[in-house]
Amino acid sequence: MKFAVKALSSGKARAGVVHLGSCPSSIETPCLLLSTRKGLPIFISPDLLSSLPSPDSNLLQFSPLHLEGASSTLVSSGREVSKRCVNIGQEARWGDTTPNFDSSEGPSPKTISSIGGLHQMVGLHEYGFAAVARDSIQCLPECGSTNKTGASFETPCGRRLIKPVEYMEMITSMKPNLWATLADEVPAWANNKRNKTSVDRTVKWLDECIARSPLLLKLVGRGGQNRVRVNPIGFRVVRAGGAVFGSIVGGSNIEERKRCAQEVAVRNVSGYWIGGFGLGESMEERPSLLNAVTDNLPKDWPRMICGLGLPEEVLQGVAAGVDLFDSAYIYHLTIGGFALTFPLDRTEKIDYNYQLSDQGSDRTKINLRATVYRKDATPIVEDCCCYTCQNHTKAYINHLLNVHEMLAQILLEIHNTHHYLGFFRSIREAIKEGCFEQFQKKFVQSRREHLAADVVSV
C-alpha cells in the first residue's frame, strides 16, 4: 500500500492518493469504503458493481466476523453427508436418514487460504479490501462483555468474543489489502476507568496482532509505507497479508485520546484506524476528540475511521484530517426505502421556495414508499448517471417497495452509493481548491435551513 498527501485545505483537511496492490488505479482520498457483508455488497451483485464510478468505488470495507464461526465442530461430527442427491423429477431425498443438518457457517480459515484469500473467494480481484472487526451495521462492539482475553461483538449469530490470535488467523487467511488491529471500543458514556483500560488493552492487542501477522522475507525497494527493517545482508522483512492500521481508541476523553494516539504513533504500522466514534458522542464534542487524535499522528500515514456515517459527520472527520471512511448511512437509507437527492453541484444556490409537493422531503432524500411517487415516471435524480436512474423510474421502485421485492433494495443501494460517492468527490474538489472550510459551512447550513423552512411552512 502506498499513500501520499497531495493537497491541504484549512490546515488539516487533506486530499491524498492511496494505491493498493490489487487495484489497477490509485484511489483519491478522502474516500468512502463501500459496506459489504461477507465481502460482497449487501444488495449490489458483483456484476453490477462495475456500473459504479471507478476507481472511487473500488475500496470495500469488510469485517472478518461475518465469516466467523467456521464449523470445525460440525465438520468433525462424523456425519458423512457428502453424497449429492439425484433429481428424478422431484425435490430429491437424501440417502441417509440423519436429519438434514443445515448450517450457514463461513468457510474455515484453512479453506479461505486454499481458495487464495478474500479477493479470490468473492471474485473481486481488482478491488481493495479494508478489514476491520467492527462493522457499524452488523458487528457492533459490546464493551460490557469485552475482557482481557478478547473483544466482544454483537453479531447476527449472537455475541462473539474474538481473541487477537483468532482475529489474526482470519486476517492471515483472508489477505485483505489493509486491516485494523483488534480494538476495545467503549461508548461515550463509559467511565474513566473503563476508558483507560480500553486504551491500554487496545495498545496491547495492537502489539499482539503485529507480532502474529505473517512475515515475508523478500527483496524490496527502499521507501514505501511498510516500515522495513534492513538487516546487514540486504533482505527486508515486510508484512505480508496487508498493511497494518494501528487502532486508536479513548472514548470521550481528550487526554485518553491523546495518549492512545501517541502510543500508536510510535508503533510499526502503515496507517491508523480511529475507533470508538459513532458510539454516543455528540456532534459538538466530536471535533475536539478527533483533533486530539489526529494532532498526535504523523501526517504522512493514512487515517481511517469507522462510525461517521452522515454527511455532516463525514465533514467533521475530513476537517480533522481523516482520509478513509466507512458508513452505515447508505445501508440504512436503502432498507428504509430512501434515495439520496441532495444537490452535489457546489454552485447551486439555496432555494427556499420549494413546492409543497416535496412534502415530507427534507431535500436531502426522498422516501420512495410515499404514494406521491406511484405514477412518477421520472428517475430519482434527473441527471444522475447511475444504473438505477438511467434505467428505472420512481414509479417502478415505488411498486417494488410496495410488493416487497428485493430489486428495490438493489436499485436503491446502487443509486445511494453512487450519490454518496459523488458527495466525496465534491469534498475532494473543495479541498484541492483550498475552500474546504467554506464547503463544510455551506453544506451544513443549507441542510439546517431546509429544516427551518420546513418548520415555517407547516
Binding site: R37, I42, R79, V86, I88, G89, N100, P107, R374, L407
Partner: protein, 392 residues
C-alpha cells in the same frame, strides 16, 4: 395475429423454431422465467438480458392488485414500466384465483372471489381478464380458462373443459389489440383423452395464434402427465407454438420437447434458489448442507455463468438463506442453467444431434442407468433411442 412461427429444424416430433413476437425474436424450445410482480426476484433486466432470457411471464392477478393494470397502462405498458425490451407473456389470472384464494368460486359468468384487499366479493370474467391483459400490454396473453387440478375426478372436468371453450369465444370477442398481442387458448380436459381431444379440436377451430396445454404440473403422476402432453402435441397444429404451462423440472422440459412442445414456464428455478438449492446436470445441489462448508469447487464446473466462474460452493453456502446476495447469486445460476438448457435444446435439434443431446442429458442425471420408466416410455413415443442410458 402478431407473431411468426418458423420451424428451423426437427427430430421426429421435436422441433426448433424461431418465434417472432412484437418485442423480440425468440428461439424455441424456450423457458420463461416467472416475474410475478413485474420483476424476477433479485435480478435486474440487464442481468436477464445477459444470461439470454427471451420472454418473462407476468402474473395478471398480482399486477392487477398492485400497482393495477390502469396504472401500468397509464405509464405506457409493462414493458416500459419494468424497462424490459424483450418479450412478455401474461397469464389470465385464473390460476392464482384458484390456487391462492380460499373462497374462489367458478360460475359461468367467471371466477368469483373475495378481494384480498378489502374482502369484497369480486368477479373475474373472461372479458375483464382480457381487458386487464390488454392494458398490461404483453406480447402473448392467455385466455381465461376453467382450470381444475388433475387430481380431481368426475363430471367437474368435463364441465370445465366445455366452459373453457365457451370462455375462449368471449376472450376473443373482448380482445382489443389482436395486432399487437397474441391470444393463446389453453387446452383443458384433465387426464381424459376424449375430453382433451374435444378441447384441442375446439381451440384449433378458433384459429388462435398459439396454444397452451394447461391443467398439468399439479401433482398428477408422471405417466399420465407425459401422455396428455403427447396427445395434445400430436393434435395441435404444426405451424403454431405449443406452450406447456407450469413445466418445470429440467427433465420434464427435455421430455416435453422430445414430444413436440416449444415453451415452458415455472417458478421452480428461482424458488428453489431461495431455499439454497442449485440446479446442476446431475440434478440438484443443496448448498445449505453441511457438506458444502469447505467445498472449494464451483457449483457446476461445466457452467459458464458468472456465479460458477467466480464462486465456490463454500462461499455460496455461507450466504444462502442468510443473505440477500445468496438468493441473488443462486437465482442467477439457476436461471442461467434453464436458459442454457433451452439454448442446447434449440441448437441440438437444429444441428441434427438431438438424440445425442438427450442421451448425454440422461446419462449425467442417471449415471447408474436408472432412468425412470415414464421417461423411457415417453422417449419411445418420441422416437428417441435412449437404450444406451438405461441399465435394464
Amino acid at each position: 395475429m402478431a407473431l411468426r412461427f418458423e420451424v428451423l429444424g426437427r427430430f421426429n416430433r421435436a422441433r426448433a423454431a424461431q418465434l417472432t413476437l412484437p418485442h423480440f425474436a425468440c428461439q424455441t424450445p424456450l423457458f420463461m422465467p416467472v416475474g410475478t410482480q413485474g420483476t424476477i426476484k433479485g435480478l435486474t433486466t440487464d442481468q436477464l438480458e445477459e444470461i439470454g432470457c427471451q420472454i418473462i411471464l407476468g402474473n395478471t392477478y398480482h399486477l392487477a392488485l398492485r400497482p393495477t393494470s390502469e396504472l401500468i397502462d397509464e405509464l405506457g405498458g409493462l414493458h416500459k414500466f419494468m424497462n424490459w425490451p424483450r418479450a412478455l407473456l401474461t397469464d389470465s389470472g385464473g390460476f392464482q384465483m384458484v390456487s391462492l384464494l380460499h373462497l374462489a368460486d367458478i360460475t359461468e359468468k367467471g371466477v368469483t372471489f373475495q378481494s384480498p384487499v378489502d374482502g369484497k366479493p369480486m368477479l373475474l370474467t373472461p372479458e375483464e381478464s382480457i381487458q386487464i391483459q390488454n392494458r398490461i400490454g404483453a406480447d402473448i396473453i392467455m385466455a381465461l380458462d376453467d382450470v381444475v387440478r388433475t387430481t380431481i375426478t368426475g363430471p367437474r372436468i368435463e364441465e370445465a373443459m366445455y366452459r373453457t371453450l365457451r370462455w375462449v369465444d368471449r376472450c376473443i370477442a373482448a380482445h382489443k389489440r389482436p395486432h399487437e398481442q397474441n391470444l393463446f387458448g389453453i387446452v383443458q380436459g384433465g387426464l381424459d383423452p376424449v375430453l382433451r381431444d374435444i378441447c384441442v379440436r375446439g381451440l384449433v377451430d378458433r384459429n388462435l395464434p398459439g396454444y397452451a396445454i394447461g391443467g398439468l404440473a399439479g401433482g398428477e403422476d408422471k405417466d399420465s402427465f407425459w401422455r396428455v402432453v403427447a396427445q395434445c402435441t400430436a393434435a395441435l397444429p404444426e405451424d403454431k407454438p405449443r406452450y406447456v404451462m407450469g413445466v418445470g423440472y429440467p427433465l420434464d422440459i427435455v421430455v416435453c420437447s422430445a414430444l413436440g412442445a416449444d415453451m415452458y414456464d415455472c417458478v421452480y428455478p428461482t424458488r428453489t434458489a431461495r431455499f439454497g438449492t442449485a440446479l446442476v446436470p446431475e440434478g440438484v445441489l443443496k448448498l445449505k448442507h453441511n457438506a458444502m462448508v469447505n467445498d472449494t469447487r464451483p457449483i457446476d464446473p461445466t457452467c459458464a455463468c458468472m456465479v460458477c466462474k467466480n464462486y465456490t460452493r463454500a462461499y455460496i453456502h455461507c450466504l444462502v438463506t442468510k443473505d440477500a446476495m445468496g438468493s441473488q447469486l443462486l437465482s442467477y445460476h439457476n436461471l442461467y442453467y434453464m436458459l442454457q438448457l433451452s439454448r442446447n435444446l434449440h441448437s441440438s435439434i437444429v444441428e441434427g444431434r438431438f438424440p445425442e443431446f438427450v442421451c448425454d442429458f440422461l446419462q449425467k442425471m442417471f449415471p447408474k442407468g436408472d432412468v425412470p420408466e415414464w421417461v423411457c416410455n415417453a422417449m419411445d413415443v418420441a422416437g428417441i433411442d435412449i437404450s444406451s442410458c438405461c441399465s435394464s
